[in-house]
């Protein structure tokens, strides 16, 4: 990876002298910072060759799948939203979808609109956090947003405003963003107030100005150039840019019903990692904003397509670093689609009778009787496709559960990227610069490591 495609002769010379037996370079970025989780990268480079590449996650195993066993299905969304504080709404909605599929419940259209809206605001919340708080400091050459408070105050204020918008949306739609309260199996336990929806619409219309500035900011910032042709997986929907609904799209080659996810997504346990290794076609793949853009970019609205091309994002894009740009594009798409959902809800009202439910069966419905069955929920959460898979008995008790988290799916791909990038930068970049490049590469995935229910030590040994 270099910033220009023409190799600099001086750099090439330095690389040559390095591979001629210069001292070994060892980089150990312990406790990878500015990712929401516990990551370690250890890269050991000897004689210009990559010998060892580790993306180590030191998160203790949490056992959500076994915690769920024996619990009432009505508790699942509460419990699983605790997998991740940052994509809590995504987990909650995926859980609800899986539960409804298992129980044979079909929610009302207004409920679906409210879920899509909540999911959009979570994408916006997470994307703005990632782009501004986690990535922008790298691009502006500082360690965190803290120094930017002094040097780039308007930028930081804008980021806070954009963040606040989605926080507030979470509050009026679901009681709070982390962890959402009122979204339940079959509907909502509280109907959002019309005045709040109107206010949210106004705020979103105003936020267009902040978005335009954001696009300009990312237009100015130079992302590293890098290319590795890999695999991409995301939900795809024939009518819309898929987030809440759709089929599993594998490389644009086939569409699979989420219920059959295990026919394409393979999980494997290795004795040195509490994170299961996930593959498609026996190879790594990428999920998240870039995967969605590559597979579904044609479903974006005209304005978002223009933003993408203005920011130099073209399908198919094989530069992982561009994931952040795809997030910026999605932010705008979510904003516009949220405005149109809000306008629809404000105009038509919410059918309270069809939407309002209780979180748990009422007293007179105990002992609980449900349909026995298995349901898989698949939802595009900020970092990519998320699966929850529940088997329920006829008393509404969970008999088996499985969750596959986006970061788990991306770790293999990150490792493949590192394998490609390290030989490209050894000898060209100094230790500090290499360290930063690798950190940036990991951060491009926006790894949400706390999310990964069964992550402990991920080691990649060549």
């Amino acid at each position: 990876m270099t910033k220009s495609s023409n190799p600099d002769p001086e750099r090439t010379a330095r690389r040559a002298s390095h591979s001629g037996g210069a001292k070994d370079v060892k980089i150990d970025v312990h406790y990878l910072t500015r990712v929401e989780g516990h990551g370690d990268i250890t890269v050991d480079v000897r004689s210009g060759e990559l010998k060892e590449c580790k993306f180590k996650v030191i998160e203790s195993a949490r056992f959500f799948e076994t915690m769920l066993r024996g619990r009432l299905i009505y508790e699942a969304q509460h419990l699983t939203s605790r997998i991740c504080g940052i994509c809590a709404c995504g987990h909650s909605l995926t859980s609800i979808k899986a539960s409804e599929k298992a129980l044979g419940i079909v929610p009302h259209e207004d409920t679906l609109l409210l879920r899509k809206l909540l999911l959009h605001t979570e994408q916006m919340d997470s994307h703005v956090l990632h782009a501004y708080v986690l990535v922008a400091p790298d691009l502006l050459g500082v360690k965190s947003i803290m120094p930017l408070v002094k040097t780039h105050r308007p930028v930081i204020e804008r980021a806070f405003r954009m963040k606040k918008l989605s926080d507030w949306a979470g509050e009026i739609l679901a009681g709070r963003h982390t962890h959402p309260i009122s979204f339940a199996i079959g509907g909502l336990t509280k109907i959002p107030e019309k005045a709040h929806l109107q206010k949210l619409r106004e705020m979103m219309v105003e936020a267009r100005a902040d978005y335009a500035e954001t696009v300009e900011l990312f237009k100015k910032l130079a992302l590293p150039s890098f290319e590795r042709k890999g695999q991409y997986v995301a939900l795809s929907h024939e009518k819309e840019y898929a987030f809440y609904d759709g089929k599993i799209n594998v490389n644009g080659e086939k569409l699979v019903d989420p219920q059959d996810y295990l026919s394409v997504i393979k999980e494997e346990v290795r004795d040195y990692s509490s994170a299961k290794f996930v593959t498609v076609n026996k190879a790594p793949y990428m999920v998240g904003a870039l995967a969605r853009f590559n597979l579904n970019g044609d479903k974006l609205d005209k304005k978002s397509k223009e933003v993408a091309s203005y920011l130099g994002l073209k399908r198919p894009c094989a530069n992982t670093f561009m994931n952040t740009v795809a997030q910026v594009v999605e932010w705008g798409y979510c904003l516009e689609d949220s405005i149109s959902i809000l306008e629809r809800l404000i105009k038509n009202g919410i059918d309270e009778e069809k939407v309002l439910v209780t979180m748990y069966p009422k007293k007179d419905q105990w002992p609980i009787k449900t349909r026995a069955g298995r349901g898989v929920g698949a939802v595009e959460v900020p970092r990519g496709i998320l699966f929850h898979d529940y088997t329920v008995d006829d008393h509404g008790v969970v008999a088996a559960a499985n969750c596959i988290i986006p970061t788990n799916q991306n770790i293999n791909n990150l490792e493949a990227d590192m394998r490609k990038i390290v030989p490209e930068i050894v000898g060209i970049q100094g230790e500090e610069e290499m360290r930063l490049t690798l950190e940036m590469l990991a951060r491009a995935y926006d790894p949400c490591i706390s999310c990964s229910t069964h992550l402990l030590d991920v080691r990649f040994v060549s």
Partner: protein
């Protein structure tokens, strides 16, 4: 505290990091707080790490031997320790794994391979180190965190409310969830969240932990009206209450 601004460090263990996000989301209140303290470690938003700190804010449960050793090492440098959120304060939902045999669960999740030899029963941080302040809740309620930090700065103790959630719920004029045929832990759960769940039509699940001596301090009129007992409620909703019921066991096992 000395005249220099106290240094505050945030560290997380086994959890979802949602409580730190609540802190990051404080916005204006957080900027106000940074006038009084220096935040030297907050991994969610910054990559530089300060080596020295006075106040240690810990999020997450202890769920592995590695967690335990790391917490001890981190805590040794701190003058004041704050437990942030249910996982740190009581063990939170992580305690649910303690209801079943760890070996059996490993088998279900990983089959014959055991990549998590390090795992132990989940426990709150005060099973490992002495805690000075507790911010309860899953997630924490932002305004309470600000109050706790004010107490930390003034060197005063913070009193966690001792009355049940029902008190706040009534002030908020919510319809009692028992009237809606729902089952709610409000009568025995400590207040301080401004009855967050019931305000949104959802029964309290007890994430802040039990009030002290529930037999004496429970919301008795509700219990009587609906013919409930403290034990009866506790057995029904175990998402969080397991933490406190099991507490005596942790103390014995880990503090000795």
């Amino acid at each position: 505290m000395s005249k220099a601004k106290p240094k505050v460090a945030f560290f997380e263990f086994t959890d979802c990091e949602g409580c730190q996000l609540q802190v990051a989301n404080l916005g204006a209140d957080l900027l106000e707080l940074t006038k009084a303290v220096d935040i030297v470690n907050f991994r969610e938003i910054m990559s530089e790490e300060g080596q020295e700190y006075d106040v240690l804010v810990v999020e997450g449960s202890i769920a592995s031997k590695h967690d335990e050793e790391r917490l001890k090492a981190i805590a040794a440098k701190a003058k004041v320790i704050v437990a942030l959120g249910a996982c740190a304060a009581t063990g939170g939902v992580n305690n649910l794994k303690n209801l079943k045999s760890l070996e059996e669960q490993k088998k279900i999740v990983y089959g014959d391979v055991d990549p998590v030899k390090d795992a132990v029963a989940a426990k709150p941080i005060d099973a490992v180190v002495k805690v000075d302040y507790y911010v309860h809740g899953c997630p924490i309620h932002g305004p309470e965190f600000v109050k706790v930090m004010q107490c930390v700065l003034m060197g005063k103790p913070y009193k966690v409310p001792t009355y049940p959630v029902c008190v706040e719920c009534r002030q908020n004029e919510n319809v009692c969830l028992y009237d809606k045929g729902q089952f709610c832990l409000g009568p025995i759960t400590r207040a301080g969240c401004n009855s967050w769940l019931p305000n949104n039509g959802v029964p309290c699940v007890g994430c802040r932990g039990l009030i002290d001596n529930p037999a004496a301090n429970a919301q008795k009129d509700i219990l009587e009206k609906y013919g409930l007992t403290v034990e009866g409620i506790l057995d029904k909703f175990t998402l969080y209450c397991n933490a406190q019921k099991e507490r005596a066991k942790y103390d014995k096992e880990f503090k000795s």
